[in-house]
């Protein structure tokens, strides 16, 4: 195992690069900032690739570990490492940042260098969340990554951006504070370490577990988001610029789910089992209730935002039935949602750049003038619908199969997403793309340019690859998931 700081490089190269871009400013019409950002984001992606090629799929132990004391008096460490659960999300983050940089090439009107810098810094911080193994380090990354996102929505956002930003901030900040309290409790209980791996090993009484579980739950449920703490997401998406929506949907929502896997399940296994009914219920509400709300949306971004919440319902459902198929399916669903939701928001961005409206009613017959766009968006719509052969199918299929093994009824209710998902996605598609050309503005639309084809085309390739051959994606997660489920099955209540 060669580990001289690949993870550190993946975190700090984009952050330092981001500040560099910031210092370049918008000189030369922003071209300098553009190319520098592209360079930094591609370099970061290149740095993360060896994580995949050098990854040992046979062990559940942490790999590429870096561990040095940070604040020794409180036993706080700079402790990084990844396993099969975190690997794909690091790659997803660094890859999508490249796409966001490319897609922002021309369509950010003001303060381009600051905009790009925010994404680069966020890139590093998000990678930090996925590989931090020290609770305080995790918390620092967790909170710090919100700052660029606030700025992106608050500065480059739509007309109601202030309301959306404050709502986003209050929700996520209140949630995170309780997580910090739980960390402090665990530290005092543990005695000498903030290591998440140490937290996973300490015995905990039943009621302590419940409290810690609930503290984590609030932090993670807000992030995912789960019903009923989801209402910040549609507002945030509607106001966020395209790139912000892409990162928010594709990566940030995964943080909460990742938290369940890294913290809740292994640290509080007994509470996880005891409160599984609650988690399953909330997940099913997300799948049914949220999907019905998505059907009646009038704003494209809101519709996709609600669809995201419904899709994340499969993820949390998969986690809390504790079967290997369901948990693996949930992880694949997270990854797939990263591709598909990013692509859907980029598609809306393509239309918004041209028409400056997200109202579904303002469109109609777009397929007549944008056939390439229509074909690509059809593919992503099918991914959103979970059609076999696309990535969206794999996760949902595995979650439904795995859930049925444990509880038939939740599987049956979850499978209704097959119908409602098709209803809102294809109805949206029909109203926007099909039909006759509704007015001159639509008639004047230009089809995708080369840059847009590159961005959407690469996502299309991933959606198909994951759908047609998910085996290599799953190979990475098997051992880690098996290890996790083994941890969850052992009670931590001291006898």
């Amino acid at each position: 195992m060669y580990s001289f700081g690949i993870l550190s490089a993946a975190i700090w190269v984009p952050i330092v690069g981001g500040f560099l871009v910031l210092s370049l400013g918008d000189r030369a019409g922003g071209n300098l900032a553009r190319w520098a950002s592209l360079l930094v984001s591609v370099a970061t992606f290149a740095i993360t690739l060896p994580l995949l090629t050098g990854f040992d799929t046979q062990t559940a132990a942490m790999q590429f570990v870096e561990r040095i004391p940070w604040i020794p008096s409180f036993h706080i460490e700079y402790f990084l490492g990844i396993d099969g659960i975190s690997l794909w999300f690091i790659l997803l983050t660094s890859f999508l940042t490249v796409l966001v940089v490319i897609s922002s090439w021309r369509n950010v009107s003001s303060r381009l260098s600051q905009y790009l810098a925010a994404f680069l810094i966020m890139d590093g911080l998000m990678i930090g969340v996925f590989c931090a193994l020290d609770a305080i380090l995790f918390y620092v990354f967790w909170e710090a990554m919100l700052i660029p996102m606030f700025l992106i929505i608050g500065v480059w956002g739509g007309p109601r951006r202030v309301y959306a930003t404050i709502k986003f901030f209050l929700y996520t900040f209140l949630g995170s504070v309780l997580m910090l309290v739980a960390f402090l409790y665990l530290y005092f209980h543990c005695g000498d370490s903030f290591s998440l791996l140490a937290f996973q090993r300490i015995p905990l009484g039943a009621s302590a577990q419940i409290w810690i579980f609930l503290a984590f739950l609030i932090a993670f449920a807000v992030k995912i988001p789960m019903w009923p703490v989801h209402t910040w997401l549609p507002d945030a998406h509607v106001e966020a610029p395209t790139g912000g929506s892409v990162i928010l949907a594709a990566v940030m929502l995964k943080m909460g789910a990742y938290g369940f896997l890294r913290l809740s399940l292994p640290i509080t296994p007994d509470a996880s089992h005891q409160l599984a009914w609650l988690m399953i219920t909330l997940s099913l509400i997300a799948i049914v209730y949220i999907a019905l709300i998505a059907v009646v949306q009038k704003d494209m971004k809101k519709l996709i935002a609600y669809s995201s919440i419904a899709h994340m319902g499969y993820v949390t459902l998969g986690f809390f039935v504790f079967t290997q198929t369901a948990v693996e399916g949930a992880i694949i669903q997270m990854l797939s949602h990263g591709f598909v939701s990013a692509a859907m928001f980029l598609c809306v961005g393509v239309l918004y750049d041209r028409m400056h409206t997200r109202e579904i009613e303002a469109y109609g017959g777009v397929a007549n003038v944008m056939p390439i766009f229509a074909s690509l968006m059809m593919l992503f719509a099918m991914g959103n619908v979970g059609l076999p052969g696309t990535s969206g199918f794999v996760g949902e299929f595995m979650v439904v199969l795995g859930t049925y093994q444990a509880y038939p009824w939740p599987a049956i209710i979850a499978a209704t997403g097959l119908i409602t998902g098709a209803a809102y996605t294809l109805w949206l598609f029909k109203r926007v793309l099909f039909g006759g050309i509704v007015h001159a503005q639509v008639a004047a639309l230009n089809d995708l340019n080369g840059r847009e084809i590159l961005v959407l085309g690469s996502l299309a390739g991933l959606v198909l690859l994951l759908g047609v051959w998910p085996a290599p994606f799953l190979d990475v997660v098997h051992v880690s998931v098996a290890h996790l489920l083994q941890q969850v099955s052992v009670s931590k209540i001291p006898s």
Binding site: V296, Q324, G365, Y404, W409, L418, I419, F434, L474
Partner: protein
């Protein structure tokens, strides 16, 4: 045979792989190269499908020599430690389906050159139908439930794309969406069924699952509290919900008539000959499961029989030529389903085969008529076309006779076999089903010949302009008609002995001896000739003759009779015109219901309750609290210091008393 010799030198799996991949390659060439190829885009799909047909015939000949294959191509994924593969199961059932699918598909491809000539979506259309052929072949060749489900949903996608092919038409988009959603309702059941199979059998592989099935006999599952169901009945019924969606059985049939919004070639290929028979194929493939559940078979039998008669009745009052044929397709699918319920799987597959030929023929001939009539589809505005379109007329007549079940046309053998099998069946509901199917024979002949006479005979009711332009269609359109007319005439006579009555499909099917009605029939009337003679003395044949006679009387001799009858039977025709109210019910309950709940959840749940009361409410509360607590922020340092000290004291007290 000589032309197949070189294939023996290939590894078998290559041959099987090439069958679906050839049309896929054609689809990709037409799809990605369409902008450059334009009206030459048909070459790649046609070559691909022709090659697939050639290979399918080779596979069929091999299967006749006792070759079969069961193996995997690649590991799709590993669930935990269970590998799930993409692979092929090549046996007699698959071989029959391969030849039927590729043959009809090739005819439709060639026909499309003429039919879609001049359409701006020419290349796109070829890309879609080749993609459909690929998906359908993957479906019938699957050796596991994952691939089956892949093919199942992929054909649904292409069907959706093709129904909405002319996407500027609102009605076409509406029909496409409806088709997809109704199919998804079926797929919902299908998916749960697969989940149940995965749970109980621990595999998605056909052979492993079928091997596990006998061990599940007697096991029960409690889905609703207080009701214990047999696991196998539960699985069989869930899978059948999928079949009801795809094969358009009541009450999931509502999408099929509206799918006629798509161009006619795909009505022939997808919505008559192949895709809609996927449910029939699937249930036959799953015969080891269905044979373990008398309850499931009874349900299948009764649903099929109801669809067969009641959908046929609607066909009597339709005036759109394509919709009449669509209702006849629903009705014929009902016959096939009823055969499944009577454990007469081979009869169902036999009818699937003959129906694929004669129904594709009827649709393509109808397309030829529509083409000549300049896109007019209303049969009340046609009449007397036989003089202008002799080839279309004669081939349509062959299709109509086959559909009506007149010997020696293909439909007679297969439909009569089904009716006989249901009559001999001992399933619960078999008597009821038999009655419906026999009456259905009369209805079928009546609506078929009503359409036939109104289109081709009698007065010419079209306008002057259209009449002046009436012409026989070009060769690329009439050639497929002639090619399809041959099996519509002969397939029954030649194939009843091996496929319908014989043992050709036995290796693919598992049938319990006491339910094996086909074997019973075969022991009485072995061979086509004997079967034909028997058929001439049976009810269905004479009812079909009566149906044609009525059509002659109503529509050739006394035009006034139908109008008089429909006023006399006004309530009945009203019910039929409303299609028993299924559409209205779905619209009111499901569509409006979903929208209503969506809006209520959104405005009341999200906006008022969560955002209004909880989020913004708590924000307001904080604001109000801040107003009163603002007085605490005096700005004097000693106030703050005092508060801090108090806090520290409380904190320490807590630690000393409770933690110390």
């Amino acid at each position: 045979m000589e032309i197949f010799a070189w294939l023996h030198s290939l590894p078998p799996i290559w041959v099987y792989l090439l069958i679906p991949l050839a049309p896929l390659a054609g689809a990709l060439v037409a799809g990605f190269g369409g902008w450059a190829l334009r009206e030459r885009a048909h070459w790649a799909p046609i070559l691909g499908v022709a090659f697939a047909l050639y290979l399918s015939i080779f596979v069929l000949l091999e299967v006749l020599h006792g070759v079969s294959f069961y193996g995997n191509v690649y590991t799709w994924a590993v669930f935990g430690n269970l590998p799930v593969h993409i692979g092929f199961d090549i046996d007699s059932l698959t071989a029959v389906m391969l030849v039927v699918v590729t043959f009809v598909s090739l005819c439709v491809h060639i026909y499309t050159i003429g039919y879609m000539h001049g359409d701006p979506g020419y290349a796109r259309f070829f890309s879609y139908i080749a993609l459909f052929t690929f998906s359908m072949l993957m479906l019938v060749m699957a050796n596991n439930f994952l691939q089956l489900f892949f093919g199942w949903e992929a054909v649904g996608l292409v069907s959706y794309l093709l129904i909405g092919f002319w996407f500027t038409r609102e009605s076409a988009n509406q029909a496409a969406l409806k088709a997809f959603l109704v199919n998804r309702v079926g797929d919902f059941g299908f998916l749960i069924g697969i989940a149940a199979i995965y749970h109980y059998c621990g595999s998605l592989d056909y052979r492993t699952v079928f091997a596990a099935v006998p061990g599940l006999v007697g096991q029960t599952v409690t889905i609703l509290p207080g009701h214990r169901w047999s696991v196998l009945t539960w699985i069989a019924l869930l899978l059948f919900i999928g079949a009801m969606g795809k094969s358009a059985q009541v009450p999931l049939h509502v999408w099929l008539p509206e799918s006629m919004e798509g161009p006619t070639p795909i009505s022939a290929l997808i919505h008559a000959a192949t895709m809609v028979t996927a449910g029939i194929f699937m249930v036959s493939r799953m015969s080891p499961i269905y044979e373990q559940s008398a309850t499931a078979l009874s349900v299948v039998l009764i649903i099929g029989a109801i669809t067969a008669l009641f959908m046929g009745l609607i066909g009597l009052v339709q005036n759109d030529i394509k919709r009449i044929i669509a209702y006849s397709t629903l009705s014929q699918l009902g016959y096939m389903t009823a055969a499944l319920g009577a454990s007469a799987f081979s009869a169902a597959i036999f009818h699937l085969m003959t129906h694929a030929f004669f129904k594709a023929l009827l649709f393509l001939a109808a397309g030829s008529v529509i083409h000549a009539m300049e896109n007019e589809q209303d049969i009340r505005k046609m009449g007397g076309l036989r003089r202008h379109m002799p080839i279309t007329y004669l081939t349509f007549l062959v299709g109509a006779l086959a559909l009506s079940g007149i010997p020696p046309f293909a439909g007679f053998f297969s439909k009569d076999l089904i009716i006989e099998a249901v009559g001999d069946s001992s399933m619960v509901g078999a008597h009821f089903a038999y009655l419906l199917l026999v009456v259905g024979a009369l209805v079928t002949a009546l609506y078929t010949f009503r359409m036939f006479f109104l289109v081709f005979h009698g007065k010419q009711r079209m306008d002057e302009h259209t009449r002046a332009h009436l012409h026989e269609s070009p060769g690329v359109i009439t050639l497929p008609l002639i090619v399809l007319a041959i099996p519509s005439l002969l397939a029954g006579w030649f194939f009843i002995a091996p496929v319908g009555l014989g043992d050709f499909l036995d290796s693919s099917l598992q049938i319990r001896a006491q339910w094996n009605t086909v074997a019973e029939i075969a022991s009485h009337w072995q061979g086509a000739g004997v079967f034909l003679l028997h058929g001439l003395q049976a009810w269905p044949f004479w009812l079909a003759i009566l149906g044609i006679a009525l059509a002659v009387w109503f529509y050739l001799l006394h035009d006034g009779v139908p109008a008089g009858l429909s006023t006399l039977l006004a309530p009945a025709t009203w019910v039929l015109r409303k299609k028993y109210g299924f559409d209205a019910f779905n619209q009111w309950v499901f569509v409006r219901g979903a929208l209503l709940f969506g809006r209520r959840f959104w405005h009341w749940g999200d906006e008022s309750l969560i955002d209004g009361a909880m989020v913004n409410g708590s924000a307001r509360m904080v604001a109000r609290a801040a107003l009163s607590w603002r007085r605490l922020q005096t700005g004097y340092i000693y106030h703050y210091a005092f508060v801090m000290i108090i806090g520290l004291v409380l904190f320490m007290t807590y630690f000393m008393i409770w933690r110390g």
